[in-house]
Every structure is written in C-alpha cells, then in structure tokens.
C-alpha cells in the first residue's frame, strides 16, 4: 500500500474508508471494528476487504446477526475504555439497535453523571439509488440528528471519508458516520497536504452569489451538477456541504444565505420532519430578515422508495429538480 502522505493517489471512497479504519486500528490498540460480515466476507460494501487477514480476528470481528447485541457490546466496550468502530451494515437495520443508540449510547454520559464516556463510532451505509427497494433504501440520518448526545457525520467527499474517522474516535461521545451507498464507487484523489479534517463545520463546496444550495452526503454531487447547469444559464449557485448534521453549523449557512438571500435545501430524507425542515426553521429563526424569497426544499417523494429504476429515480432529488427549484427563486417570472 502506498503512503498517502507523499503521493496523490487515485482511490475510491470505499478505499478511503478502508485506509481510515486500518490506520486507526494500527495507531491505537484500543481500536477495533466489529459488525456483520466485516471479516471473512470483507463487508457488505467491501469496505473492510482484506483487513481481517492483515490485522487479525481480534481487531476485525464478525458478529452474529443481532444489531441490538453487537451495538450494545460496542457501547459496553467503549464504556470500559476501548475505542470500538461498530459497522451497522446499513441504516435500514439500525432500527433494531435503536434502543441501544438512543437509550444507552446517547444517555449514559448524562445518566452516569459524567462517570462514563461512550467513545463509540457507528458506521452506517445510508440512502437509495441501488434498486434495493422500500426496505433497504432509507435515509435515516435526519432521525438520528434529532437526538442530543450524538454527533452525526455525513462524509460526502473522499477526503472526508478518509479523515473523519480519526476525530470521531477521539470524541468522548458517540459519533454516527453515515456513508451514502452511491458514493462507495466514486473515484478521486486525496490531497497529500491534507492530513486531517474537522468534524464541526460545514463547507462551501462551490462559491456563488445568487442562491445557496444546502445539502450533504449523497446529494452533494447531484447538487454540484445542478449548480453547473445553473451556471450555464448565468445563475451563480453557492453549494454548502453540511458534513456535520448534528450539531449543525448554522454560522456557515447563515453567512452564505445573508449574501445570496435565497436558499434551497436538498435532502434525500422524506420531507416531513426532515433535516431539511430543521435547517429551514433555523434559517427562519436566525436569518429571517436576510431572506428575499421563500425557502425551498428538494427532498425524497413521500412514498416508500420504489424498486423500478425509473420510479426510484423520480422519487429522489435529481440535478434537474434541484436546478428547477433554484431557478424558481432567482428568476420567478
């Protein structure tokens, strides 16, 4: 394996996740990874392929098919001083561990009066787009972002996939990392000069002046494509990647909206009670008098995500629908 610190190598988002896990396990004897099929099989999305052979069965552990049991074991290990990375194959199955996450991981530091920290990292695949139908296409990160005590990360870029894990492990509180399934095959290069990222701030991925497009995760590249389409029409869109869904970095969003005065929020979650609703309401609270147009949202259609490819595509935010929403604000007539 080449050394990422000296050369700008070409790699996939999946490989960036793997490098991050491998580096963390080698660097700290307290770090280990467990989950369903992460070992011999190499992970449902092949993120951990080859790691068990290299790092051993103590550090890469296959678990029984019981999310409640192995997430609970991860919480216990974290309380006992370990730094577990628990892979919940997809967020669709995280509901089986919801009691562990909400009632234990998020509350134990509080319920124990600060005697216990829970330095647990959960990795979960999220999102639709692979024709996995209604039960395996959820975007539940907005639900988890409702819970105080959790930090919710949504790495969209290869750089964030590579570098968000280390600060997440360093956080004494539980951190959930949502990796969008459509990003694993994305290829790119890492800037060797970047050796770390923060897990506190949103980032402007494309500067612009007419409208702000706020998004995260799997929708980022659709939104950037929409901004490119708009640029061809003479409209300048600023694209913000939230990166951190809880706590929200509203400073970056408000600063941008205070300049552009128009905003579209793009969220693959269902619209009702979504993260996009939270961002919109915060803007109303913090930047009402900066707004020169209604806030618009592009979210998943409120249906179970369909299986047929054309219907699945129609149910999700797409560059065309994002661009149309932005256009309707900047050039209403």
């Amino acid at each position: 394996m080449s050394d990422a610190s000296t050369t700008a190598e070409r790699l996939t988002y999946r490989e960036a996740c793997r490098q991050a896990i491998r580096e963390a396990i080698i660097a700290d004897p307290r770090v280990f990874l467990m989950g369903e099929d992460v070992g011999r099989y190499g992970g449902c999305y092949a993120v951990t392929k080859g790691l068990m052979a290299e790092l051993g069965e103590d550090r890469i552990r296959d678990t029984p098919l019981s999310e409640s049991a192995f997430v609970g074991a991860g919480i216990g290990a974290a309380m006992a001083g370990m730094r577990p990375i628990v892979e919940v194959m997809t967020c669709n199955f995280s509901l089986l561990a919801l009691d562990q996450i909400l009632n234990n991981a998020a509350t134990i530091p509080h319920m124990s009066g600060g005697q216990f920290a829970v330095p647990l990292v959960l990795r979960l695949a999220t999102g639709a787009g692979r024709q996995l139908a209604a039960q395996h296409s959820h975007s539940l990160e907005g639900w988890f972002a409702h819970i105080p005590g959790l930090r919710i990360l949504a790495p969209a870029t290869i750089e964030d996939a590579r570098h968000m894990l280390a600060p997440a492990l360093a956080d004494p509180n539980p951190v959930l990392i949502f990796e969008h399934v459509m990003l694993y095959n994305m290829e790119g290069t890492l800037d060797p000069a970047v050796t770390g990222v923060d897990i506190a701030h949103a980032k402007v991925r494309r500067p612009g002046s007419d409208v702000t497009l706020v998004t995260y995760g799997g929708s980022l590249f659709k939104t950037l494509a929409a901004a490119e389409m708009l640029a061809g029409e003479g409209l300048s869109a600023e694209v913000i990647d939230l990166r951190v869904l809880r706590p929200l970095d509203m400073v970056t969003v408000v600063d941008s909206v205070s300049r552009t005065r128009r905003v579209v929020i793009i969220d693959e979650g269902w619209r009702s009670g979504s993260l996009s609703a939270e961002v919109a309401m915060r803007l109303v609270e913090e930047a009402f008098f900066e707004l020169d147009a209604p806030i618009r949202r592009v979210c998943a259609r409120e249906v179970p995500i369909p299986y047929p490819a054309h219907l699945e595509r129609a149910a999700l935010p797409q560059p065309e629908t994002i661009a149309a929403a932005a256009r309707s604000l900047v050039r209403p007539s």
């Binding site: 005065r261 147009a293 604000l329 209403p332």
Partner: protein
Amino acid sequence: MTVFRMPSLGADMESGTLVEWLVRPGDRVKRGDVVAVVETAKGAIEIEVFQDGVVRALIAEPGAVVPVGAPLAEIAAEGAAAEVAPAPPTPQPAVTPPKAPAGPTAAPPPQAGRVRVTPAARRRAAALGIALERLRGTGVDGAICLADLPSPAPPKRVPAGFDPAAMRAAIAAAMSRSKREIPHYYLSETVDVSAALDRLTRINAERDPPARLLPAAILLRAAALAIAATPEVNGWWEDGRFRAADGVHVGWAVALRGGGLIAPAIRDADRLALDPLMAALRDLVQRARGFALRGSELTSASITITNLGERGAASVLPVIHPPQVAMLGIGRIVVRPWVVDGTVQPRQVVTLTLAGDHRATDGHVGGLLLTRLAALLADAERL
C-alpha cells in the same frame, strides 16, 4: 408677520443647504418645533422655529443654498392666522414625510388585500422610508423583493450631503481662529475621584444596564455645578468684551467615528440631577453620531468639556471653541499611588485641565473653578 431666516449654526457657518421642509403652509408651529433640515459642514441639522405662529409661506426651495440670515419662510403670529391662504383641501398633519424619494417603479392601482413583501425587502424599504404600496413586485409569487427597491446608499445613516472634508475644514477654521485670537492659559489639577466612582459602583449594582451611570455623568455633574459657581468662565467673548451666558450650557465634545468632532450643548446642565444628566448624555451622543442634532444644540454652548474617556490619554490641553472663553479637559481615570491621611494608597485619579481665555479671565478665576470642582468630586455623595 415675521421672516424665519437661516440660522447661524456656528461662528464659522456662512450658508446652509435646505434639505427638506418638515412643515407646510398653514401648519401651526410652536417655539422649539423642528421645521426643516439644513445641511451644513457639521452634517444635517434639524432647525427649530423661535416663535409661535402659523406658517404662511415657504420661501426657500429644498436644495437651495441659503446664506445665514437670508429668509427661509414667513411665519404669521398667532392672531394673524386669518391672513393665511386657505389650507389645502385635505388637511395634513405635520408629520415627517418619507426621507427618500418613492421607488422608481410607477404606482400601480391599489391592490386588494395584503402586499407580499420579502423580509429582506421589507427591512430595506423601512430603512429607506419607502412606501411599499407604491411598488410592483417581481419576486416569487409577485412579492416585492430587493430587486424592486433602490440600493441603500452606504454608509446608511450619513446624509448624502454630509462631507467629511467640509467638516474637517470647519474644524480647521474654528481651531485656527482660536489659536490666532485667543490667548490661552492652562491650569491643571489631578483629583482623587475614588469616592465618586465608589458611589457609581454602588448605584449601578442595584440597577439594570439601561439605568446605569457612567463616570462621565458624575464628572459632568460636578463640572456643571462648579461652572455655575464661576460665571466668569461661562459665556462668550464678543465685540471686545465678555458676555455672560444665561445658563450653564455645556458643549460636550463627541468624536465621530468617520472622523471629525462636534460639541452639541446640554442646556442648563447644572440643573439636571445625575440621572437626567446621564440620559441627556446618552441621547446627545447617539444623535450626534446619527447626525440628528438640532440647531440650538450647536449654537448655544457657553463652555465646552472634552472627556477623553477610558481609552483616551491621561490629560489634555484643550483648544477653546470661539467665541467661548473656557474649555475643560478631563483625562482618563487612572490608578495612582496617592497620599491619603498620611499613607500611600492606590487611588483612582483624574487630571482636569482648564484652558481659559486670558482676555476674559485671569488664572485666579480659572483656579477657583478647578478648586470648586475638586471639592465637589471629593464630596461625591452630594452630587
């Protein structure tokens, strides 16, 4: 009937530009009412009328440069109101009209129901004084948006006609005249103000921020009382002799952040207790910064005080503002070793410096003022 003329808003003023009338023919006015806004080197000044009556005619047009003393309007005395031409068919209250012109878009017929306006547009329209009903919206759902409004002229609060260079020139003229004509003498005294500041701390501890007092207020209170007891320094040097003022009208020097200096008057400052004095100070500074002073405040000062405040120098030798005959400088309050009852203690002290016009007074009188001031500050409970 009398003619209302362009007032002199300072010894150095030769003319002013009429910005707008705040009254119209037929309006009843009382002495002290603000009737017009005039642009001078010191910014836009609201000017007041000096008699009761009814506005008979407006002579000067907005935009006109009017020399000091030239007629602005005719005002009929109360009894002569019958001579006034018939009032306009719909009587208008004498409210301030919008300060900015209406928007560029032609007025559409009145719309039924509520006008849609974006939050940002509503805020800008309010800042510009634009009536939204006259605009046509081109935003989402026909809402009036920022694109339908004129851009605000930055910086917002400074009137378009205000010219920092003109103010600089006015200060240069007044200060040159001062140093050319006035033989200054200077007296200094460093005074222990610990007792006064202790009193403020005790008062403020029981008050919410809106009612709190600043050291400036207690210093001004003491100075106003000392000036009242020393009438020889309170007035003007005119036509080769001293004319005493009819009250202690303290000009308070206010630095303007964009550059420049203005010293509007707090009239009868010696008759104001601490709280009203503090309120007057806050009001005056705020309006000076916002260029919303009145003509009488710029012309009536009988003595000026410059208070350098907590970020200023330790002492100042003031330059008298002609035709006044004295100016008091107050340095920054500092902690110094001080001999109290035979022992050295850290005390809060301030250096007071009086500049006197040697034509009007001698150093002995100036020394009396400082002595009185020091005594008042030492007995702070009575201020």
